[in-house]
């Protein structure tokens, strides 16, 4: 039986004091993002609750910080009908000026959307992500180690170099010996303007489970992306293109291209009518992605109540070569708190 002696009591008091002080000494912020929507599709009106995003940042020391993003979302396969997923867990160590080392689970810094908006729907310029996300072209997460620099020189140059567990790996273990490599660079030559490009390479092992499928052959995947983003006082433009190549046995080299263009006009500080055009095209002998060429048009209007609350009304049209045409009208309220 464990007894509380005077020495143990004093030790516990000291430990408690140290613990409380270290908790009070660090700055920790908890924020959240959530969205709710209603849609009209096939003459049926539905109401839906979107992801609830729990976002935590903490300043552990002058140079070390933590960022965590956990999402609670509907899941048809869960007993509780909801699932919890850890989207980002990043320890960041600033080693000099604007240069940092980051360790953890990242949103792969492979294109503007994935690196900027994450799961905060209040930031999205449209209600949903572009088609290239639902087509599974972008490896959204990478667990690994990265080095990052930002706002360097007159052009405000920035870079991210990330080495991590590749496609098919879990959050705690790589499924093979190959590491994925992401290299991204951007400049911000004027306020609101960001030009970026990135490269991703990974060897996906035979037997790896990706998006519910087992990969039948080893695939060498490379992705090249380019983006132009301008969010100014009057206009908003965001254009991104991705060229994906999945190479099998150095014989097959099918290419996939995915691109979208978003434009918006700021009528005033609150109202922004916008549109987005998407296209995803696969070559016939594609071996990794679900091969469905698709185009989409999105048109809508956004009302920004303030920086923490945004209402959007949007018409979506998607044409898929296999799934056919889909029309939807959707309204969404997204908030941050």
């Amino acid at each position: 039986m464990w007894k509380l002696t005077a020495k143990t009591f004093i030790a516990l008091v000291i430990l408690f004091y140290i613990g409380v002080n270290s908790l009070w000494g660090q700055k920790t912020h908890i924020r959240g993002f959530i969205e709710a929507h209603t849609s009209l599709e096939d003459s049926k009106v539905s109401f839906g609750l979107g992801e609830q995003d729990l976002f935590i940042t903490s300043e552990i020391s002058d140079r070390l910080s933590f960022l965590g993003e956990t999402v609670f979302a509907f899941s048809g396969t869960s007993e509780s009908s909801f699932k919890v997923s850890i989207e980002r867990v990043v320890l960041k160590y600033n080693f000099k000026g604007n240069h940092s080392l980051l360790l953890g689970k990242h949103h792969t810094p492979i294109n503007y959307w994935n690196d900027s908006y994450h799961h905060g729907r209040v930031f999205f310029p449209t209600i949903e992500r572009p088609l290239l996300f639902s087509a599974g072209i972008i490896p959204i997460h990478t667990t690994g180690l990265s080095i990052q620099g930002q706002n360097l020189g007159d052009l405000r140059f920035g870079y991210d170099f990330l080495i991590g567990n590749g496609i098919g790996s879990s959050d705690i273990l790589d499924n093979d010996k190959h590491k994925s490599i992401t290299a991204a660079a951007h400049i911000k030559p004027a306020d609101g303007l960001k030009l970026g490009a990135s490269f991703y390479y990974d060897i996906i092992s035979k037997g790896a489970s990706v998006h519910g499928h087992d990969v039948s052959e080893q695939i060498k995947q490379s992705l090249l992306t380019a983006s132009v983003a301008y969010f100014g006082k009057k206009f908003e433009v965001l254009a991104e293109g991705t060229l994906a190549t999945n190479r099998v046995n150095d014989v097959l080299r099918p290419h996939t291209t995915a691109a979208y263009l978003y434009t918006g006009i700021k009528l005033d500080e609150h109202w922004v009518p916008y549109m987005r055009i998407d296209n995803v095209h696969f070559e016939n002998d594609e071996v990794f992605f679900d091969e469905e060429n698709a185009t989409a048009f999105v048109g809508g209007i956004r009302y920004e109540i303030n920086y923490l609350a945004v209402v959007k009304l949007e018409y979506q049209f998607i044409h898929g070569e296999v799934s056919g045409d889909n029309n939807k009208v959707i309204a969404q309220v997204a908030v941050g708190f």
Binding site: H29, F55, T57, E59, D62, R63, L67, R88, V90, K92, N94, K96, G97, N98, L102, D115, S116, H118, G120, F123, Q150, N151, R156, D191, E269, E304, N306, Y307, L308, G336
Partner: protein, 152 residues
């Protein structure tokens, strides 16, 4: 005209003006002063560097100390002035800018204050802190020269 009746009217008008100005309801585009902590923060900056610092683009002082930004809340007259004149943004745009920066994991939000004295005290007591206010009330507060001037 009866002068005896005019005097109280003038007094009331003067009193009202004093109250409005002191509570910040009537405020012109007054001058803003940049203050900094005695540790790490240089005594003079140029406007370009100040802009990069206050937007969260430059994150460390030359000695490696982290930059801590202190601002008046965007819904206060000084905060609103700061947004427009230093950031060329509305208060809402400034809050959105910093929320996005924090969410992307690329920077920290400023510490916001409703009281000028609290801001001044925070900057004086926090190594690496830089802040903006209208007038310095404590003579020991360190004023940062911007482009050779004490006010912007």
């Amino acid at each position: 005209m009866d002068k005896r009746k005019l005097i109280p009217v003038k007094c009331w008008t003067f009193l009202l003006a004093v109250i409005l100005v002191s509570t910040g309801h009537v405020r012109g585009q007054g001058e803003l002063t940049v203050i900094g902590n005695g540790k790490s923060v240089p005594s003079a900056l140029n406007m370009e560097d100040l802009g990069a610092i206050l937007k969260g683009e430059t994150q460390r002082w030359n000695d490696g100390k982290k930059i801590v930004i202190a601002l008046m809340k965007t819904n206060t007259p000084i905060g609103s002035d700061t947004c427009l004149r230093v950031y060329n943004m509305s208060g809402n745009e400034l809050n959105k800018h910093f929320l996005a920066l924090v969410f992307q994991g690329r920077g920290d939000a400023p510490t916001f204050f409703t009281s000028v004295r609290d801001l001044e005290e925070f900057v004086s007591n926090t190594p690496g802190a830089i802040g903006i206010l209208d007038n310095v009330s404590d003579p020991s507060t360190r004023v940062i020269m911007v482009d050779g001037k004490k006010a912007i």
